[in-house]
């Protein structure tokens, strides 16, 4: 098996995730900045209800935070793949990578494939 090919593929996926993470961080900072501006405006105009409404704006932070958490989960899965492929027999590695794939997709892991199913498949 071509380990260089797998390594390079994982490197590219990690690089794409790093780019996405930077964008998510920028998005989160923008939301915080807008919240601060809205709060300052509400303070200057003495408008407590508008100030309270900034909480709604800050709720938008949920999206970048969830995105960053998902990217971190994916990164750890990708890094585990290298070790799995290098150190575990292929059939066992397939089972483990299947679990990682389910984690990345947000699925519950599929039940383990029995020996009978493998032979039948």
């Amino acid at each position: 098996m071509d380990m260089d090919r797998i390594d390079s593929r994982i490197e590219r996926a990690l690089a794409a995730n790093a780019r996405a993470e930077k964008i998510f961080v920028g998005l989160a900072l923008t939301i915080v900045a807008f919240g601060v501006i809205a709060m300052v405006l509400a303070y200057r105009n003495v408008h407590p209800l508008v100030a309270a409404a900034t909480a709604l704006l800050q709720a938008l932070l949920w999206y970048p935070v969830a995105g960053i958490r998902q990217l971190r989960r994916e990164n750890s899965s990708l890094q585990a793949v290298r070790v799995l492929v290098a150190s575990v027999p292929p059939d066992r590695a397939i089972d483990e990578i299947t679990k990682l794939l389910a984690l990345v997709r947000g699925e519950t892991p599929a039940p383990p494939v029995s020996r009978r199913q493998r032979l039948a498949g």
């Binding site: 098996m1 590219r12 780019r19 964008i23 292929p90 299947t98 498949g121």
Partner: protein
């Protein structure tokens, strides 16, 4: 539209399955369709509640029932709807909501925030009722149109913006 990590893991699985052909790679590569259900249900409920709240607030203000307390009433109404729906299982067993509902959620909350700002900052007799009704309708209708016509295009653009060009072949 696959994320880079998903595509990389699938490609690695394909490579490995050539070494261990008895492992039934199709089982591994196929999505098993069982997703975490809690988030999906929550978004469903939030979307429906927010849409109904936005409708209630907009309609009430348009017929002259304006006031600061209206926003609280709208939110309370949404919470009651969500509660009733979860009590009677109206939302069904769908684990993940369609994108349309996620977008509807955003559109409804934009409407609510807009209405809240107008109601709070303008006097009750201001000639804004038509504007509010029109803006409210525009937000929801445009949202629905975008969702129906080009939501997948918007998603793919955002996906391209996030991950850039990547080729994992």
């Amino acid at each position: 539209m696959k994320r880079p990590a998903e595509a990389a893991l699938e490609a690695t699985l394909r490579d490995l399955s050539r070494l261990a052909p008895t492992t039934a790679p199709r089982l591994a590569l196929r999505r098993n369709g069982v997703r975490r259900s809690r988030r999906g249900r929550l978004v469903w409920l939030l979307a429906l509640g927010a849409v109904l709240a936005a409708l209630a607030v907009g309609a009430a203000y348009s017929v002259g029932l304006g006031g600061v307390g209206l926003i609280a009433a709208g939110i309370l109404f949404a919470a009651l709807v969500v509660l009733a729906m979860s009590r009677f299982g109206v939302y069904g067993e769908t684990a993940r909501p369609p994108s349309l509902f996620s977008f509807l959620l955003v559109a409804a909350w934009i409407s609510l925030v807009f209405e809240a700002i107008v109601i709070i900052t303008e006097p009750a007799d201001a000639p804004h009722l038509v504007g509010i009704a029109v803006a409210f309708s525009v937000v929801v209708v445009v949202g629905l149109l975008i969702a129906a016509i080009s939501w997948s295009r918007v998603r793919s653009l955002w996906h391209g913006c996030l991950f850039g060009r990547w080729d994992l072949s």
